[in-house]
Subunit: 338 residues, 2 copies
DNA sequence: ACAACAATCCGAAACGTTTTGGATCATAAC
DNA sequence: GTTATGATCCAAAACGTTTCGGATTGTTGT
């Protein structure tokens, strides 16, 4: 592996000059620079990022900390698309991305902070972690710059990107109401998710706006899991057969709800309408296709990376980025007659 | 950030001793070791991997080179699951993974090899790259240890993991034949994919085994893309209405074929049976649910990482790992009557 | 002729580790 | 009493880069 030293020897200059030539400093003669560049190419030189990182005290690497990078999480292509978005921006600006995950079977004994510090990442993006995750506060309180996805914490070193989940939920519920639904239930995620708080808030507000009663007992938690949502929907439908529509805090749960409806011999959307949240791939392929609130997951990753790197390089205007959501009407919601 | 030097000072020993104590060498007194460990913990010490990597000349990091980490590729959860598998093993053995992708809009001007050498990855896993990708040979010919997914190249530094695609294809076609199909078409991927070569081989062998004619003009390339497969299937079905079944080299293409069949007013599986390959998430959610040859994508990633790291640490028995496939029968194939 | 200045170069230190090749000392063997 | 042995420690070099503070020229202005 050729080093700066080899180039220096071949070019008959000092390593200082080689370094400065390669890095575009102005105090090196254009002719020597050319010569050095040529030799570097000819010797097939690649700089050693470890050495550089060591002396510069930064690695041009960011960490993506995700929880739940499991076999099953493929269904929910959220993580994947965020990852793709992060990767996209990161490679545009010549950073690298290293992936950390907590779901290894033998629970990793090192904390996020330790991981970040050992690997000398310049900053981190956190995706999919619960608000009660102990690591969350550890990271936030450490001085490692980070941006959170869907958790609104802001400080000198932490920012976040999210969507307006209250508004998103409202859009969904208003849509159901416009279709003529008056008896709407909700399957939420779990307590320790910021988006859950927000979406249920939007749900209630939309009902109130329309002059409809808010029935707490028509709100159930599905833990963002398909089967649990199915079970809860089944329970609600049996207990309260008058329900005509479901608003779900995730598409995966909406799919579970659809199963529950079918299981009771009812039809979607004619007997019970269902609307989800996220717009995962499955949403448009299920039958009936799922109406949903679409989030641009790729953009969330992209913007998170952009925000983080802007913060790292000291040119971040703001530490928060709110993205738009969009109502997608498909087959699982339809005008209610009668 | 506390260093080994701080610990040395605090403990009143040399940095050598600290290093050796922390790394479990035997030539340090148990009492001093304890003291050093305590101080290290108390000072919240994390080793600097950059420095370590620099002197040891290895980074305990592997690169995952994927092509096609785009928004759209989420449909095809192949990449994601492989990634999850790689991540799983890598974190089990305390390595790290950095992601490289070629699909950045502004084509990354650096080659894979340069990326690998700059970032000082110890080895690389290549997934989803075509056999005619110029980078492929570059990587294979460089001395960077790597393992390929679904490309059978083997050398002192190169290994691969794949499945038996000939057998897999045979299983699929035999299944169709057993159901009574005699006029079977195939939608393949593209020329520059090893798996395509193999699957079409299996397709033909299965036909011959059963004494059925091989009609080259019933084999079309769908480029692993849903719309292209749909178009090709449409063309074939119009030109040869006698076709009663399709074997597709990927599930995504199979979904396209199903669309084509429906578009012609025919039904799946009654008029035309369709079987895919991969067992992506969508397969079990589409309607009808797609029969397919399942590959354990997570395991492929896991085994690739294991193989690579075994190679790196000099204890790889073999450089190749072949995984099993499994026929999954769902709604898109059914006993043919008449 | 001399000072001032710009252009171009370089030596050496620094970053935080690991490792080599001893040094020191106490104990055991002769 | 001397020597060998083992236990425990350490100084210094090395990894490949960046950068600080100057050194060496040649040119310009007076």
């Amino acid at each position: 592996m050729t080093t700066i030293k080899d180039i220096a020897k071949a070019a008959g200059v000092s390593i200082t000059t080689v370094s400065r030539a390669l890095n575009g400093y102005s105090d090196v003669n254009e002719k020597t620079r050319q010569k050095i560049m040529d030799i570097a190419k000819q010797l097939n030189y690649s700089p050693n990022t470890l050495a550089r990182g060591l002396v510069m005290n930064k690695s041009k690497t960011i960490g993506l900390l995700v929880s739940g990078l499991t076999r099953e999480s493929a269904k929910d292509n959220f993580t994947f698309e965020v990852l793709a978005g992060v990767n996209e921006y990161v490679s545009e600006v010549d950073y690298d991305m290293v992936l950390f995950s907590t779901t290894s079977t033998k629970q990793r004994e090192k904390t996020y902070t330790q991981l970040c510090r050992e690997r000398r990442v310049d900053g981190a993006i956190l995706q999919g972690i619960r608000t009660d995750d102990p690591y969350l506060h550890e990271v936030v309180e450490s001085e490692i710059p980070c941006v959170l996805i869907d958790i609104p914490i802001e400080s000198k070193t932490v920012g976040y990107v999210t969507t307006d989940n209250v508004l998103g939920a409202k859009k969904a519920v208003r849509h159901l109401i416009e279709l003529g639904h008056k008896r709407i239930a909700m399957i939420n995620g779990y307590e320790y998710a910021f988006v859950s708080e927000q979406r249920v808030k939007g749900f209630k507000e939309a009902l109130i706006e329309a002059g409809l009663p808010v029935r707490e007992y028509w709100i159930a938690n599905g833990a963002f899991r398909e089967e649990i949502a199915e079970r809860e929907a089944l329970r609600l439908l049996q207990q309260y057969p008058e329900i005509t529509a479901f608003f779900c805090a995730s598409d995966l749960m909406a799919l579970g709800v659809i199963k529950a409806v079918k299981q009771l011999g009812k039809r979607v959307p004619d007997d019970v309408a269902v609307i989800g949240y996220d717009d995962i791939i499955l949403a448009s392929y299920s039958s009936p296709a799922l109406s949903t609130i679409a989030q641009d997951k790729f953009a969330m990753g992209y913007e998170a990376a952009k925000l983080l790197i802007d913060m790292l390089e000291g040119n971040a205007q703001s530490h928060v980025k709110i993205l738009e959501t969009e109502l997608k009407i498909r087959g699982s919601t339809v005008k209610k007659d009668g």
